[in-house]
Amino acid sequence: MTLLFSLFLLTMLVIVAVAIVNSVNLFAAVILSGIFSLLMAANFFVLDAADVALTEAAVGAGVATVLFLGALALTGEHEREGPRGHFLHLFIAVATGAVLIYATFDNPVIGDPNAPVHQHVAPWYLENTPELIGIPNVVTAVLGSFRGFDTLGEVFVVFTAGIGVLSILGVRHTLVEITGAELDARQRSLRHHLIPRVVSRGMVPLILLFALYVQFHGEYSPGGGFQAGAIAAAAIILYCLVEGDDRGRELVPEWLLGLMLAGGAFLFGAVGVACMLLGGNFLDYSVLARTQTDGQHFGLLLIELGVGITVSGVLLTVFHAFARRASR
């Protein structure tokens, strides 16, 4: 049954991918890529990777689609007529595909207990997580503690991406402060969207609550900083979409976004340095509290918080950068 389901999902993935390549209308391509992400998330879930599925659904299908649409508002929705395809291109694509398919024959069967991925370090993590870290979600233990360096690097990649978008799309030199009567006039122009506004007023707090749950329950259930950051950003973006970008910027002002962008990454690094000052290794949380597992809990809580703050800050910053360009 599961096999049938994954076969269906993978077939749908191929169909959607071909449709994305074929579509000339970029708007349709963006929506299709959102569908692609959702199918991919379902696929991850079938493969029991709930953490990855949550991230893919929140970032790929949710926030990335909105960001693409924001970019489309700046560029226009039709693809420019490019040069026609060449036989050489077709040959390279077919040859690469053939090599990749040939390579899959060496792959172990899905779920094969003798596969290298189940024989390498994974058993060690599964065996030692209860004793060393003391939390049920091994994914969080691996991500936050055993491979804390990698995660720190990822947070800085996200941070750098936010800085990059800001430096390309401009920070604030074109920003015109809108307050009072003009803001109210803009608000009235949104009166056509009464029903979405009323419904979203009920939804936004619930989504934020769910983001907090995913953030702070990540040690016990699927989730953590990356997912929670994306979900919180999605809630605020929903608010900005239905209430207007100006109201959104009143809710989460620019200076706060800048602080979130840098503060989260700083918090992560600072926890590492604090570990060093207390006599441990960099990002070795065991020294943060009296016992080994308490220290690990405390450290994981702090670094996940840092990850969440940076991720939501970066996503909101990118969204505002696009929205401001489009509304100018």
């Binding site: 056509h192 969207h193 029903i195 979405p196 419904v199 979203s200 009920g202 939804m203």
Partner: protein
């Protein structure tokens, strides 16, 4: 008792699947934007609601039931809203439903 629950949930889920199928058929066969949207949104909300109800009967009194209830509430709130937002956006950007001119004329004659 259990077989009765199973039978009811089977019927509900089949009906839900049928609803979604009819909706898909409507999207393909209806003549223009607004009728297509109508086909998709009504059957989606109803069909998914039926499927979730069927699953709830399967779940029994458990945590899964609470989650399914939450999903049901979210779907019933968001699915019609998104359909409304889509139709509203289409109307604002200049799409008119087929036959809207006749209605406009009738309204003018009446006033």
């Amino acid at each position: 008792m259990e077989t009765a629950f199973d039978a009811i949930s089977f019927v509900l889920m089949t009906l839900g699947g049928l609803c979604v199928f009819i909706g898909g058929l409507g999207v393909l066969r209806m003549p223009e934007l607004f009728t297509r949207m109508h086909a998709a949104s009504v059957t989606d909300t109803g069909g998914l609601g039926l499927v979730v109800l069927g699953l709830a009967l399967q779940a029994g009194w458990s945590l899964a039931l609470v989650k399914l209830a939450a999903i049901l509430v979210f779907l019933f709130a968001t699915s019609p809203t998104s359909a409304y937002a889509l139709a509203n956006a289409a109307l604002l950007s200049g799409h008119r439903p087929e036959g809207a001119e006749r209605l406009d004329e009738a309204a003018e004659r009446g006033s």
